[in-house]
């Protein structure tokens, strides 16, 4: 902002001042004085260029970003405590009780391995889903026949709740890691593929035409024009794929009796022992992981991609 302002403030008067001596100099002006149309151009540029409004104090930016969510968490905790104190619901445990359950799980060494196990499964499952979903989506945009056949099927699977798939996976693959991964993939791959297709569809045709006229065709065109142009929607596709995968994983872990427990198992144990505080503890864990991955990975990635293109996306 300061740079642009200074430029436009100084360029205007300077251009005016120098026009007069130029005229008087006559034949010599070509060597000595600046070209008048050059001056015109730079004056116009300074006036026309959009002002940069990005610069803001770091402390204010951190406060502006972290403040509202922290406030919301505080508000929820306060309401929760209030509800417990006033005994609005007989089944509602105190926040402290839930915290104690989490601490106990940490103390007997089951908490971190469970979180780690769930995260590991989600990362592997998501990675595989991205590795399948993105090429699949790209392929669908290239092959019309494949798209007409597979498109509706993918949309249908996408609308299927993961809970409907778990029994199928368990009967087919047993109470194994394989069943869990199958559910995650079926939750994640269609959503990524469908989002990639719609992302490619939304690339402005003019950019493709410009690329084509420059000689960017085939693989070169895809690498230098198509994929970068669709990158924002790819990021959105991955983000959605992660969310779908994470939800599907929790469902799978809740229902499937895998040898290694995840967060979903804590949820199941809470339900079996009729402990509301343990169930709530698991729910909070699931939420926390979701929010953390979102705000630490996908949020910044998406903002970066959008800002690079001069688009300011919704801040989540």
């Amino acid at each position: 902002m300061p740079a642009t302002d200074a430029a436009s403030a100084s360029a205007g008067p300077t251009a005016k001042r120098e026009q007069h001596p130029e005229r008087e100099q006559g034949p010599e002006r070509e060597q000595t004085a600046p070209d008048p149309s050059d001056e015109m151009a730079s004056g116009l540029d300074a006036l026309d260029a959009p002002a940069d409004t990005r610069a803001k104090a770091v402390s204010r930016r951190v406060l502006g970003k972290a403040g509202p969510p922290l406030l919301a968490v505080g508000l929820v905790l306060a309401l929760w405590q209030l509800a417990h104190t006033l005994n609005w619901s007989s089944t509602l445990p105190a926040p402290g009780q839930v915290w104690a359950d989490l601490a106990a799980a940490q103390a007997d060494g089951t908490l971190l391995p469970a979180v780690g196990q769930s995260l590991l499964r989600c990362v592997i499952g998501f990675g595989a889903a991205a590795a399948i979903g993105i090429p699949l989506g790209l392929l669908l945009t290239r092959l019309t026949l494949l798209r007409t056949v597979l498109g509706p099927i993918l949309s249908a699977i996408q609308s299927l709740p993961a809970a409907g798939l778990v029994p199928v996976a368990v009967i087919a693959l047993g109470n194994s890691e394989g069943a869990v991964y199958a559910v995650v993939l079926l939750g994640s791959v269609p959503s990524i593929a469908v989002a990639v297709v719609s992302g490619i569809d939304q690339v402005p045709p003019l950019l493709l035409r410009a690329g084509k006229s420059m000689g960017a065709t085939g693989l070169r065109g895809a690498a230098h024009v198509l994929v970068p142009a669709a990158l924002p929607s790819f990021v959105a596709a991955l983000r959605q794929g992660w969310t779908f995968g994470w939800r599907a994983l929790m469902t799978a872990e809740l229902i499937t009796a895998t040898p290694l427990p995840g967060i979903g198992r804590i949820l199941a144990e809470g339900k079996e022992s009729d402990s509301m505080s343990l169930v709530l503890a698991a729910v909070l864990l699931i939420l926390a992981v979701g929010v953390l991955v979102e705000s630490a990975l996908f949020g910044p990635l998406e903002r970066r991609v959008l800002r690079q293109r001069g688009l300011t996306g919704a801040r989540l």
């Binding site: 149309s37 050059d38 015109m40 151009a41 730079s42 116009l44 540029d45 026309d48 260029a49 959009p50 940069d52 003019l206 950019l207 035409r209 410009a210 690329g211 084509k212 006229s213 420059m214 000689g215 960017a216 070169r220 230098h224 024009v225 970068p228 142009a229 990158l231 690079q308 293109r309 001069g310």
Partner: protein, 297 residues
């Protein structure tokens, strides 16, 4: 229909003699004609129709047009004259239904009304990408891109993002990118139509300067080829007269070459020059005739 269309010999000879009966408001043997001989662009009896069989719509009808190397030709017409279709054919993005389009010196560079710069790259990188596709080795690209940006008077724009530039600056970067392709033919599809009048005037000046410079040096900065031939599509009569050595008026639906004018006014011209105004008035008269002809249909 005017008599020009009935000249069968038109397409065969050189640029100078191909239009013996054109309604030249100035003389027919202009500067462009002096360079005649080989052509940079040639459309020989080109027709183009769109749509399914049975309901085909003729967009271009029997177009014969030649541009000599280094010539600046403005294609002028109202909506529906097939200007953009014509440029697509010359650019090789589309094929004619009949006739032949010849561009001897490879793929022409193309510039649009929208800058069409890639928003994920900086201004300089946009130019460098064009250089890359043009086969310029990696270690020369940066320097060449800087030269080209300097040529369009944006020496400090290399690191700028597209959205940080004004409309006029974006079009100048787009011009630099088009020049970076090293083509000898530059096709411009109403490149300044979306700009405000002040900026457009400035860019007219820039374009004339770049084109003249390419002519005088025998090749463009950033490439080593021949002179720069420009096909400039517009529906702005004054713009056409101000820029072009030749103005070709197209009739609409289907697009046909209606008339041509050699513009003998010396460069650099200004939009307010009396010569420009005078010829623009004459051409506007003919353009209106073409449009009114459709009203009677």
């Amino acid at each position: 229909m005017t008599t020009e269309l009935a000249a069968p010999a038109a397409a065969s000879a050189s640029a100078a003699s191909s239009h013996p009966d054109r309604h030249a408001s100035r003389s027919t043997s202009g500067a462009a004609a002096a360079q005649a001989g080989p052509y940079a662009v040639r459309l020989d009896r080109v027709s183009k129709a769109f749509g399914p069989p049975g309901a085909r719509q003729l967009v271009l009808d029997d177009i014969r047009l030649e541009a000599a190397p280094g010539e600046f030709v403005c294609l002028l017409g109202a909506s529906g004259c097939g200007k953009s279709t014509m440029l697509n054919l010359v650019a090789g993005l589309d094929q004619p239904s009949s006739g032949k389009v010849t561009v001897p010196h490879g793929r022409p560079a193309l510039m649009f009304q929208d800058h069409a710069l890639f928003p994920w790259l900086s201004a300089g990188r946009n130019v460098e990408l064009a250089l890359k596709f043009g086969g310029v080795p990696r270690n020369e690209r940066r320097e060449r891109a800087q030269e080209l940006l300097k040529l369009v008077r944006l020496p400090d724009a290399h690191a700028k993002r597209v959205h940080e530039l004004s409309g006029g600056m974006r079009q100048r970067v787009a011009l630099a990118r088009a020049l970076a392709q090293g083509s000898e033919v530059l096709l411009m599809d109403e490149p300044f139509a979306a700009l405000d009048a002040i900026t457009r005037d400035l860019l007219h000046e820039e374009l004339t300067r770049v084109w003249t410079a390419a002519k005088e040096s025998g090749g463009r900065q950033g490439s080593g080829g021949g002179p720069l031939t420009v096909l400039f599509v517009t529906h702005n009569v004054r713009e056409a007269v101000r820029l072009g050595q030749r103005v070709v008026l197209l009739s609409s639906r289907p697009g046909r070459v209606a008339r041509e004018w050699d513009v003998e006014l010396p460069y650099p011209r200004r939009i307010e020059d009396s010569g420009v105004t005078e010829l623009a008035r004459e051409i506007t008269g003919h353009l209106h005739e073409e449009i009114v002809r459709h009203a009677r249909h």
